[in-house]
């Protein structure tokens, strides 16, 4: 079924059809035939959809997301530690849809046809003038011997996509007996959220210190060193969790045995844990891979600087974790910043206007205790045809944790503001 406007409204259901077509975006109803389709309702997709509508209310925007709600990965390590509720991290799409006249389609994209400029979902096809995809990450399960994509994460949770996996890991840590061992295993970079593994070590160790003080946490890092904010995390572990955390760099896991909760590292015997948080190597979300949007590395999507248009398929823009965006880390704030620039340039291209060079920032907070956070931040601009961090800007929090209590307070507002921007 080709999804023309009428069918699409039918598909959305009668209730959705009465959604206002425009919000504060303006009074002009979108003109049929100028449509941007956005795939993925996370940090990138929601913002891209919103900003396209804000900048040009005459463009129809359809946001396709398979879940009714989005659960933020940022701050989900605090849920595992029991100091935050999932409800703090969960947003819906109703207000965004109503305020900006975005059509939300709760469906899964099964294919993209770049030649026909059509997106195929379980319920039909939708044509687009330009497509923005923000599909996040998926895992390269096939590189791990013994890993069954269906059953292994139920025993060895990755918890690297927030939601059920987060709660599963939390439950496992809470059920573990005092004196047990938690293992976190991280793949080689690039992966989503560079400071994430080290924050998670802090948060789980904090829980163990308080509730199960005889327990241990082993962080098996495939990388030769801590990937983000190394000096700060090292100091946090030394200061607060010295007897709990053991950090083992250059330990790449190639085989797992879920039955015995054992990880096998090249050149080392199997390491067994009571709770095993195994995070597999990553790549762009499945739809980007199956649509041929990944580059020579077969994992990530090469894009043109500033427009984020795929260098492989015209009229398809890739943002967020899935995209290769120069020096920017794969982070929620990065996706937010990229989405805004992408939306501005998509609107410019659709109106025959000149595009603009990228400018944006990234700010990531990591909790180290219940009352202290650290941060990494940077400003990004275009230089020599790539996105680079502006020289002498950005960096980490002070090493003496003198700002950590205040940063904890500011981190809370980061979460509130970024989720509000995505959902209203």
């Amino acid at each position: 079924m080709a999804l023309d406007r009428r069918n699409f409204l039918k598909l959305l259901g009668a209730g959705a059809a009465s959604l206002p077509l425009t919000g504060h975006a303006g009074d002009a109803p979108p003109r049929p035939g100028r449509r941007v389709v956005v795939i993925g309702g996370g940090f990138g997709g929601t913002i891209a959809a919103k900003y396209v509508r804000m900048l040009d209310p005459a463009i129809e925007v359809v946001l396709i997301e398979r879940n009714r709600q989005h659960v933020s990965c940022p701050f989900s390590n605090q849920v595992i530690a029991g100091i935050r509720q999932m409800s703090d991290l969960t947003i819906g799409y109703d207000k965004l849809a109503a305020n900006y006249g975005i059509r939300i389609l709760c469906d899964e994209v099964t294919a993209i046809d770049p030649a026909a400029r059509e997106v195929v979902t379980h319920s039909g096809k939708i044509g687009y003038d330009r497509l923005i995809i923000s599909p996040g990450i998926d895992f390269r399960f096939d590189e791990i011997e013994g890993y069954d994509p269906a059953s292994t994460p139920e025993i060895l949770p990755h918890a690297w996509k927030a939601g059920a996996q987060t709660l599963l890991l939390k439950k496992q840590v809470e059920s573990m007996a005092d004196g047990g061992t938690v293992i976190i295993s991280m793949p080689l970079t690039p992966f989503r959220c560079p400071p994430g593994p080290y924050e998670r070590a802090c948060m789980i160790a904090m829980y163990l210190k308080k509730n199960k003080p005889r327990s241990k946490l082993i962080l098996l890092d495939a990388n030769p060193d801590i990937v983000s904010a190394g000096p700060l995390f090292t100091r946090a572990w030394d200061t607060y969790y010295k007897d709990i955390i053991e950090y083992l760099p250059a330990k790449r896991v190639t085989r797992v045995d879920a039955r015995t909760k054992t990880l096998f590292v090249e050149g080392v015997e199997g390491i067994q844990g009571d709770v095993v948080n195994f995070v597999p190597p990553q790549r762009a979300g499945a739809i980007a891979v199956s649509s041929g949007l990944v580059g020579a590395d077969r994992n990530w999507c090469p894009v043109k600087v500033s427009t984020f248009e795929s260098t492989i398929h015209n009229n398809i823009h890739v943002i967020g974790d899935a995209a290769v965006a120069g020096a920017m880390p794969k982070a929620g704030y990065s996706a937010n910043a990229q989405a805004k620039v992408c939306a501005m340039n998509v609107v410019a291209l659709m109106n025959g206007r000149e595009t603009m060079d990228f400018a944006g920032i990234n700010v990531c907070y990591s909790a180290i205790t219940e009352e202290e956070d650290i941060s990494v931040a940077a400003v990004y601009k275009v230089a020599q045809g790539n996105i680079v961090a502006v020289h002498d800007s950005g960096g980490m929090s002070p090493i003496d944790f003198s700002a950590a209590r205040l940063e904890h307070v500011y981190a809370e507002s980061w979460l509130k503001n970024i989720l509000t921007e995505m959902s209203t």
């Binding site: 501005m344 603009m356 944006g360 700010v363 275009v382 950005g394 960096g395 500011y410 507002s413």
Partner: protein, 220 residues
């Protein structure tokens, strides 16, 4: 023939290059949009410790950013970020946020503290933070800056002679953090401000923060 062919390739190559580099520099909106992740869309903050930037006077924004950049104003993240921007970037962002409609914070305020804060405000704050901390524009016009204004603006805008910041309608938590920073000396203040600020107990500061937070921001 071979030479002609070579020339064509060069011409096509130059065209392709021109097409790929033909992009305008970032606009004020693009620069400012990037702040939204922390400060809210259009600078309207939903986070209690994060100040709203929407409607903040241009001169105040410029001075704040430059002082973050130089380290003169203490910060956590802002100093690191401000270093990534040129004077022209900062001026463009300042103009963008000054144009946005200010929206007062929508969190709860404590009525008892508002009343107490109001009394303190009318006693010691109102001479500089005019009109309940809202923006003022005309009031100082025509006054002799050195005689009338320098005392109040010494902590931020003596060189510009521009407005005091808009603090009406800001989040009380943010205001309290800033007042605490003035009080403990991490943020510099003028003699006049110090005289007013040093007289305030922690509960007084909480009260003043609640008072300002209870006010609507002026719509220009």
């Amino acid at each position: 023939m071979a030479k002609k062919w070579y020339g064509t390739i060069l011409a096509v190559g130059a065209l392709a290059l021109a097409a790929s580099v033909q992009a305008a520099p970032p606009s004020a909106a693009m620069l400012a949009n990037a702040c939204g992740g922390c400060h809210g869309a259009r600078g309207v903050s939903a986070g209690p410790s994060m100040p709203s930037l929407a409607g903040q006077p241009k001169a105040y924004f410029i001075v704040a950013m430059k002082r973050f950049r130089s380290g003169e104003r203490p910060s956590t993240v802002m100093g690191r970020l401000a270093k990534g921007y040129t004077d022209a970037d900062i001026e463009a962002m300042a103009a963008f946020f000054a144009r946005q409609k200010p929206v007062p914070q929508n969190g709860p305020v404590d009525a008892r503290l508002v009343e107490k804060g109001a009394a303190i405000y009318y006693k010691q704050c109102k001479y500089c933070h005019l009109d309940n901390g809202r923006l003022w524009r005309q009031i100082h016009q025509g006054q002799d800056y050195d005689k009338q204004c320098r005392n109040c603006h010494a902590d931020y805008g003596p060189d510009t002679g521009d407005e005091t910041p808009m603090i009406a309608g800001q989040w009380p938590k943010y205001l309290k953090i800033q007042m605490d920073a003035f009080k403990d000396g991490t943020r510099k203040m003028s003699k006049k401000k110090a005289k007013a600020m040093n007289a305030l107990s922690p509960e007084d500061r909480e009260a003043v923060a609640n008072f300002y937070a209870s006010q609507t921001a002026e719509v220009r």
